[in-house]
């Protein structure tokens, strides 16, 4: 069936091409219209520039440092995250995912961890993400953050949790 349709369409296209190319008529209906062409070149260009300028501004705004009150290091391993809070004293722990067979009713599959990363609410927080062995990526979609964890490199991301709760 599919081959039939393919042959049908290609025959149609070939016929149209041959008919367009081998006609003896000159087309009298192509008009030359410079004014409207100018308008529909300039107007979309202006609209796109008007979209691009605030967008670039937001791009640079997202990159700014927001004077974080707390710095947390998230290091990715195979296959767990280890968090270090070293601002005031040395605190570090590993966070393993709870395997599906150990879940209690009410917990989310593949999302729960045995030790959660705890953060103060309504405070700017900086997270330095790195990895120990292979490439990982640290993401919390509910907070809108994702940062790749590259071994040998420190990536920084900052966020503010505006309400108390558990974010996945």
């Amino acid at each position: 069936h599919a081959l039939m349709i393919v042959f049908l369409i290609s025959t149609l296209v070939l016929y149209i091409i041959v008919a367009m190319v081998s006609t003896k008529l000159t087309n009298k209906y192509i008009l030359d219209s410079q004014e409207i062409e100018i308008i529909w070149t300039v107007l979309p260009a202006i609209i796109l520039i008007l979209i691009a300028l605030p967008s670039l501004r937001i791009l640079y705004l997202m990159d700014e440092i927001n004077n974080p009150l707390l710095t947390i290091k998230a290091v990715g391993h195979q296959w767990y995250w280890s968090y270090e809070y070293t601002d005031y004293e040395d605190l570090g722990f590993d966070a393993y995912m709870i395997p599906t067979q150990n879940l209690v009713p009410g917990q989310f599959r593949l999302l729960e961890a045995d030790h959660r990363m705890v953060i103060p609410v309504e405070s700017p927080i900086r997270v330095l993400v790195s990895a120990d062995d292979v490439l990982h990526s640290w993401a919390v979609p509910a907070l809108g953050i994702k940062m790749d964890a590259v071994p040998g490199r420190l990536n920084q991301t900052a966020f503010i949790a505006s309400r108390p709760g558990v974010f996945y």
């Binding site: 410079q34 100018i38 070149t41 300039v42 700014e64």
Partner: protein
């Protein structure tokens, strides 16, 4: 070739805005690339005199192209020199 283009432009003046926008866009992207190549502290051109420019960064100098809320000239310098 430029003469050909000029002749076609005279008979089709609607192409002039096209040249302006496309040429302007290409020029702006080339200029930004050049700025990144020359003024980005992660790039090293002169290995003898300035081998690691990322070690000489100042806290009160703006390295990015556009800073919305941060005034870099007002920031203090903490910590010792490298």
């Amino acid at each position: 070739m430029l003469g050909q283009v000029a002749k076609q432009l005279k008979s089709h003046p609607a192409l002039i805005p096209l040249f302006i926008f496309i040429g302007g866009g290409a020029a702006m992207s080339m200029m930004y690339l050049a700025r990144l190549a020359l003024k980005n502290p992660a790039v090293c051109w002169d290995r003898k005199n300035n081998p690691e420019p990322w070690n000489n960064m100042q806290p009160d100098y703006q390295y990015k192209f556009y800073a919305v809320n941060t005034d870099y000239s007002k920031l203090k310098k903490e910590g010792p020199d490298f």
